[in-house]
């Protein structure tokens, strides 16, 4: 039994796997809890099931229908966003919302209700999910839609895979007249400038996000580059649509775990790169294919391995505008002061378009995502502090990126969790869910502990 990892490769847990092949099959009978698993692009333990079984959905990768006149695609839950783009982009349709990697499944995108660079004008992925089928361990099958089983619809979007298995879904795509994006890069001196420029950009740009230099301190905290863009006008420069499916990735692969000393050099060179690009201090415009614009990291296959075999932790929070300036400054300073600078940090704004999902993470405010190489206790303590700062600022932490938030925080961030718990499938559970609900202990935590997972950082937890 080879441990299946999440993208952050932390925590490590032992679990069994069971591949699924056909959407009409009944759920496999196994002892212990099960959890659907897409492509494991979640970072922490929300896509893991220590001591239990993961239902691998990659084999559910068939299309059911695509209507190029309406842009509605129906497909099995293991179809990836990449497959949808290959099918739809050459015919003038694009994903309404996409995360920073296209190697996620439709089921995974629904279960985490993922967001993209356009949350301020588009909301989350879940808003474009017209219907899906939910299969439960009691053998029942439900089609869920805003007007059909709406409670199951709301519980399952952002439902972390715990309400049952999504077998297929129908998604509304959005029309594009060109696969190219007109992109502008604006240098930012600090966090205050980000807050002004990002909000200004929301009016004219569909897509915005900023890369932040995590080593900057004092007045320069939040220094970085803001990227904003829109799909280019029709047939820009006469470039034909058919080119859209060409991959522009350079196709590098990280062949093995990199020793941790590489990280510092990489970090340094990344910052040098940042400085180089901001030197003239003026915005720069360019035309770029959607692939490098939306998925710059996908070009380096397996980049998560640069953090070495101990993996890394991501931390993503959102804080309301009222507390954003102070809280983000605090978070950024704590991470640089702790001598554990984040290699990749991203800031962006969320609008107030509501999601149908009860446990959806995005809410109005500013979101910050950071990666930390796993240096053991030191890193865990830092991430736990950042969780606390977020909670005190009235924000929330993203379960898809989390390995350390406390159960108390989870309860504060997701007030509808009680209602949600009533819709969970009794046979489904995850390492994340057990960590967040340590007193309920529906399944044994012992096997997870034995496999080296961390103790839940909570007074409520059984140690």
């Amino acid at each position: 039994m080879k441990p299946l990892e999440s993208w952050g490769r932390y925590p490590r847990v032992e679990q069994r796997t069971q591949p699924l092949t056909w959407r009409s099959d009944t759920l496999p009978e196994v002892s212990g809890p099960v959890l659907p698993h897409g492509l494991g692009r979640s970072y922490g333990d929300s896509c893991l099931n220590g001591g239990g079984t993961l239902l691998l959905t990659a084999g559910l990768d068939r299309f059911i229908a695509f209507d190029p006149s309406t842009g509605v695609v129906r497909c099995e839950a293991g179809v990836t966003l990449d497959m949808i783009l290959r099918l739809a982009a050459p015919r003038g349709w694009f994903l309404p919302v996409t995360p920073g990697t296209k190697f996620v499944t439709v089921g995974g995108a629904i279960a985490n209700d993922v967001h993209g660079k356009n949350h301020h004008c588009a909301g989350t992925f879940g808003r474009y999910v017209r219907r899906f089928e939910l299969v439960r361990s009691d053998g029942s099958r439900r089609v869920c839609a805003p007007d059909e089983n709406p409670d199951w619809y709301g519980a399952t979007i952002g439902g972390l895979g715990l309400t049952g298995l999504i077998t297929w879904a129908e998604v509304q795509l959005k029309p594009i007249s060109n696969p190219y994006v007109l992109q502008e890069t604006v240098p930012l001196a600090n966090l205050d400038e980000f807050l002004v420029v990002a909000r200004e950009s929301e009016a004219d740009y569909q897509f915005t996000m900023a890369w932040v230099d995590c080593l900057a301190r004092g007045k320069k905290v939040g220094r970085g580059l803001l990227y904003r863009g829109n799909f280019a006008p029709p047939q820009f420069d006469g470039l034909p649509l058919a080119k859209s499916h060409l991959s522009h990735g350079i196709g590098l692969a990280v062949p093995m775990d990199m020793p941790s000393f590489c990280l510092n050099r990489l970090t340094v060179s990344a910052f040098n790169w940042l400085y180089f690009h901001r030197q003239n201090g003026r915005p720069k415009q360019r035309l770029t294919h959607y692939d490098p614009f939306f998925y710059p990291l996908d070009a380096i296959y397996g980049w998560n391995r640069i953090y070495g075999s101990r993996g890394f932790l991501q931390f993503q929070c959102v804080v309301p505008y009222s507390t954003a300036r102070d809280a983000l400054k605090d978070i950024l300073e704590r991470s640089s002061r702790g001598g554990l600078p984040s290699f990749l940090s991203v800031l962006k704004t969320f609008g107030d378009i509501p999601s149908p999902g009860w446990l959806s993470f995005p809410r109005k405010g500013v979101t910050l995502a950071m990666d930390f190489a796993n240096r053991g206790e030191k890193t865990y303590r830092l991430v736990e502090e950042l969780d606390r700062v977020t909670r005190e600022a009235g924000g929330a932490v993203y379960p898809a990126k989390d390995a350390r938030m406390s159960p108390e925080s989870f309860a504060a961030y997701f007030p509808r969790r009680v209602e949600f718990a009533g819709y969970m499938d009794p046979a489904f559970s995850s390492s994340f869910w057990r960590r967040m609900n340590p007193v309920a202990l529906p399944f044994s935590l012992e096997s997870e502990r034995a496999a080296g997972a961390p103790h839940p950082p909570s007074v409520l937890a059984l140690r």
Partner: protein, 245 residues
């Protein structure tokens, strides 16, 4: 291959082949046993760009239906110029050793049903003096081994049948392509521990279509199996029978 009949279309290798054919805009007639699964493959092919997709759910072990099935495929697509025969079972060697019934089931599905289908297909292709018959066999048919010689025998018999058919149809411009995959990572082998020799169904499908396009006779996919089987075949029987293979 523009108008293709796929037998055993829900098998992993066939599904991967169907996707490649659909992306080329081929017309397809898909045959499989499980109606719901066949429907899933059919809709997938239609969505991925097949010019036309028809399907029929039948149990290919029912030989009496074969003539009508072939006729139906020609009718539905307005002729055929390609066939991919992909249905088969792995069987269980221990069970086959214990009972003839289990052995017979493997021989019927892998060998006899294939012959029963290829007979009318070969006759029609011979008459129209065009077409490509692609049959998925296995490296297991190259030499009998104690661990799976019943399955191996069914594929070995199939290989000899295809050799003869190829010999007969050569003058009629009909290609007979024997595809010999090694280990493939599919639901059929889900219970086996995986090693580096396991290839993905997509890789096998690409090799299969390449062989069909260039009208090859016999191909190993991936190619490394040609070397492996060359070695296995050249071990003298006096030594081979003492090996635990």
């Amino acid at each position: 291959m523009k108008k293709v009949l796929v037998l055993g279309a829900t098998s992993a290798i066939a599904q991967a082949t169907v996707r490649l054919l659909a992306a080329r805009g081929a017309s397809l007639y898909l045959v499989g046993r499980n109606a719901a699964n066949l429907d899933a493959v059919t809709k997938d092919a239609a969505t991925r760009g097949a010019a036309k997709v028809e399907s029929k759910a039948v149990d290919l072990n029912d030989f009496a239906t074969h003539e009508a099935l072939v006729e139906g495929a020609f009718q539905a697509l307005g002729g055929l110029d390609g066939v991919v025969l992909a249905h088969g079972v792995l069987g269980d060697q221990a069970e086959s050793q214990a009972t003839w019934t289990a052995t017979e089931a493997v021989l019927r599905t892998n060998f006899m049903s294939a012959v029963s289908l290829l007979t009318p297909l070969a006759n029609r292709f011979e008459a129209q003096k065009a077409g490509t018959l692609v049959v998925i066999s296995s490296v297991a048919g190259d030499r009998g081994r104690q661990s799976n010689y019943v399955y191996g025998a069914s594929k070995g018999a199939l290989n000899v049948f295809l050799q003869g058919l190829r010999n007969r149809l050569a003058k009629s411009n009909v290609a007979v392509v024997t595809v010999k995959p090694g280990f493939v990572d599919t639901p059929m082998t889900a219970h086996l521990p995986k090693n580096k020799l396991f290839a993905s169904p997509e890789k096998v499908a690409r090799g299969l279509l390449r062989a069909a396009d260039s009208r090859k006779n016999e191909v190993y996919v991936p190619g490394i199996w040609a070397l492996i089987m060359l070695i296995i075949k050249s071990i003298p029987e006096s030594v081979f029978k003492k090996l635990k293979l």
